[in-house]
């Protein structure tokens, strides 16, 4: 147990029974995060990134969600944990910050009240004065000017970036060992995004906490993450160290994500290629590989393997901890000869 990473997710399956059928939001997902490390989870909307991390905090309604598999936080199983035990964990050992802080902070309560509430619920013996001091300290830590005055303001009196900072302060107020940041920069403009990401990085170094960063922005992942988990249709399709995945991706969906990243510094002949089609239905997922209806490279796979057989997560060509879920026999070669010249011609020229 002592060697185990702080968060271990094994074969996590989250399903929601609805009137239309069973929504398979997350299927057989496994990953782990060590203290001091950052895992980036990327994927489109509906790929299961938020659903899977909300399961870590037990935020799904037990009446509407069916959760199977195992989630261990600090060696402790949390799937099936009682609500009161789960509550001790939430906001304490595991904290979550959400996108769009304007909606995620309560509009009717002062920022200070929301912070002290988060502190007091896990420090029942602390006085209001102590909680307030702690809240001011946290606001200062996340870089809010004049925190002793700002603490008495309402969220709508904050700017967008400050709201997200306040949200982070609230998440970190109880020194969590694991911080789940669900698209923390999505609602912010680019300069503020960079500030918030820097802040998260600084705070992580300071607290040595484990971080899960949910995003659809591979640029953010490249900057922040140690490991990357690419999700599609509720499944992991590629998982491994960040550098391996960004330099030698082996799954056509990851290629698609990479080619969808706008890059202002890139050669003007580089193209930004969107992934054709729409995310798969989670009610009736496609047969075989769930990405096959949108995959541009499925004719390189012999027979109709892609549409009939779900590929397993197998080690990537270069070995290590990098795994992918794809039938393509020689993905590295296809990437180098067909994908890279389209999206980053300058990189190809540099190669021998």
């Amino acid at each position: 147990m002592s060697d185990e990473p702080f968060l271990v997710v094994e074969d996590l399956t989250v399903r929601f029974p609805t009137a239309d059928g069973l929504v398979q939001a997350v299927t057989d997902l496994s990953y782990s995060v060590e203290m001091g490390k950052t895992l980036g989870i990327v994927g489109e909307s509906g790929s299961g990134k938020s659903v899977s991390s909300m399961a870590v905090l037990g935020l799904h309604d037990a009446r509407t969600a069916r959760i199977d598999g195992s989630i261990r936080v600090g060696g402790k199983e949390v799937v099936g944990l009682s609500e009161s035990k789960m509550r001790e964990l939430r906001g304490n050992a595991v904290a979550m910050i959400f996108q769009d802080a304007l909606a995620a902070l309560h509009p009717f309560y002062k920022v200070g009240k929301q912070l002290t509430e988060a502190y007091l619920v896990h420090h029942p013996s602390a006085t209001k004065r102590e909680a307030r001091a702690r809240a001011i300290e946290m606001l200062e830590r996340v870089g809010i000017p004049q925190p002793d005055q700002r603490i008495d303001q309402f969220p709508h009196q904050y700017s967008g970036g400050m709201r997200q900072r306040a949200m982070i302060a609230m998440g970190l107020i109880n020194d969590p060992s694991l911080l789940i940041a669900d698209e923390p920069t999505t609602a912010l403009d680019v300069t503020v995004q960079a500030q918030i990401l820097d802040l998260l990085q600084d705070l992580q170094r300071e607290f040595n906490s484990a971080v899960i960063l949910i995003t659809h922005d591979l640029g953010v992942v490249a900057e922040m993450a140690d490991d990357v988990l690419v999700m599609y249709g509720g499944r992991a399709v590629e998982y491994g160290p960040c550098t391996d995945i960004l330099t030698h991706p082996e799954m056509p969906y990851t290629w698609g994500l990479l080619s969808s990243v706008p890059d202002v510094t890139a050669d003007t002949s580089a193209r930004m290629i969107p992934i054709p089609g729409n995310p798969p239905s989670l009610l009736s997922p496609p047969s075989g590989c769930s990405f096959h209806p949108r995959c541009l490279y499925r004719d390189k796979v012999p027979g109709d393997l892609c549409s009939t057989t779900l590929p397993a997560l197998t080690p990537a060509g270069r070995g290590g901890d990098h795994v992918k879920r794809c039938h393509l026999p020689n993905p590295d070669a296809i990437y180098a000869t067909e994908v890279l010249p389209e999206i980053a011609p300058e990189l190809v020229k540099e190669m021998p």
Partner: protein, 335 residues
């Protein structure tokens, strides 16, 4: 907050002045002929369009003066009091003077003073009960949405609110007072006189108003609670590790109450309309019943007074709603 209140009170006063003008115009331009009515009343129905008595009555009522002059007199009486002369008799009508009842020449203001507490008691008690029951049941249903209990609750409130209010009140009166004596005497006792009797005398009335009104408030608050529970900030509250109780009451309910309070403000006039039925059916001498009966016998000063009081009621109710609203939502307070 202070300037907000001053503004609301000023605009409320303006509305009341406008209502008083409109109501006053009933005298002059209404479909009734108050002079003829009064003349008939005073001559045992021996008054026709050409009677000399009619001329006298019309002069007394000021029909031969311009309407603004008469309104001025009336308004002055309201503020400072006046003396009303009928034939040889002079009636002293101290402020706020609302005139003499055509029926028995009593001061309308005096009658109002005894009847107003009845209506106030009914309205406030009923509103309190239907808000309390409606919101509580709505919250419980929202938390169990989709379950059998929720569906049964929602459909039963629909059934009950499809029945006209007067029918519900009448059936309650017949079943619970007349035939079974569960609530043997529905009667008004002043609260200053005997609070226990005040309470027991009005309990059935409150229950009827409360249960009937609660049906729609259950649906309102269930709907807005379902919405509030799905808000991002409620998820944040849960992620902080707060207990379900704190999440539901402090985070979701406070937000869910805003639309409910708004509807309550709009509904206030309907509540008063409801007390007309209530007072009539349960035979309570409040403003609603008084105004209704005055309409039958064309007792215009009473109609005027009751309309004015109800207008004040609605305006004050709405100011109270605004205060509650700004207390609930700080963005309104500052904006």
């Amino acid at each position: 907050m202070f300037s907000f209140l001053v503004k609301r009170i000023l605009s409320g006063s303006l509305i009341i002045v406008l209502v008083s003008m409109l109501v006053y115009l009933l005298f002059f331009y209404g479909p009734q002929h108050p002079g003829l009515e009064l003349c008939r009343r005073e001559t045992n129905n021996r008054c026709g369009p050409t009677s000399a008595k009619l001329v006298e009555v019309e002069n007394r009522l000021g029909y031969n003066n311009p309407v603004y002059e008469e309104y001025g007199k009336w308004a002055k009486g309201l503020v400072a009091g006046r003396t009303i002369t009928v034939g040889e008799t002079a009636y002293d009508c101290p402020a706020p003077c609302l005139g003499l009842s055509f029926r028995d020449r009593t001061l309308v203001t005096d009658q109002l003073k005894t009847r107003f507490p009845v209506t106030l008691s009914i309205a406030v008690g009923g509103a309190f009960l239907y808000l309390l029951v409606g919101v509580t049941v709505g919250v419980l249903a929202a938390r169990r949405r989709g379950t059998l209990a929720d569906r049964m609750l929602v459909s039963s409130t629909l059934v009950l609110s499809s029945v006209p209010y007067y029918l519900v009140a009448l059936l309650a009166f017949l079943l619970l007072t007349i035939s079974t004596h569960v609530f043997p005497d529905v009667v008004y006792h002043p609260i200053t006189d005997n609070p226990v009797k005040w309470f027991s005398g009005l309990l059935l009335v409150w229950l009827v108003l409360g249960v009937y009104g609660a049906t729609s408030y259950t649906r309102f608050s269930r709907g807005s609670m379902v919405e509030a529970l799905s808000e991002d900030y409620v998820r944040t509250a849960k992620a902080k590790g707060l207990t379900a109780r704190v999440i539901v009451i402090r985070h979701a309910l406070r937000a869910a109450l805003v639309p409910v309070v708004t509807i309550f403000g709009i509904d206030f006039a309907f509540l008063l309309a409801g007390t007309v039925f209530t007072e009539k059916i349960f035979q309570l001498d409040g403003i609603g019943k008084w105004g209704l009966e005055a309409t039958y016998i064309k007792d215009l000063p009473v109609v005027q007074a009751t309309s004015l009081v109800l207008a004040v009621f609605v305006v004050v109710g709405n100011i109270l709603v605004d205060i509650v609203y700004s207390w609930l939502d700080p963005r309104v307070r500052l904006g």
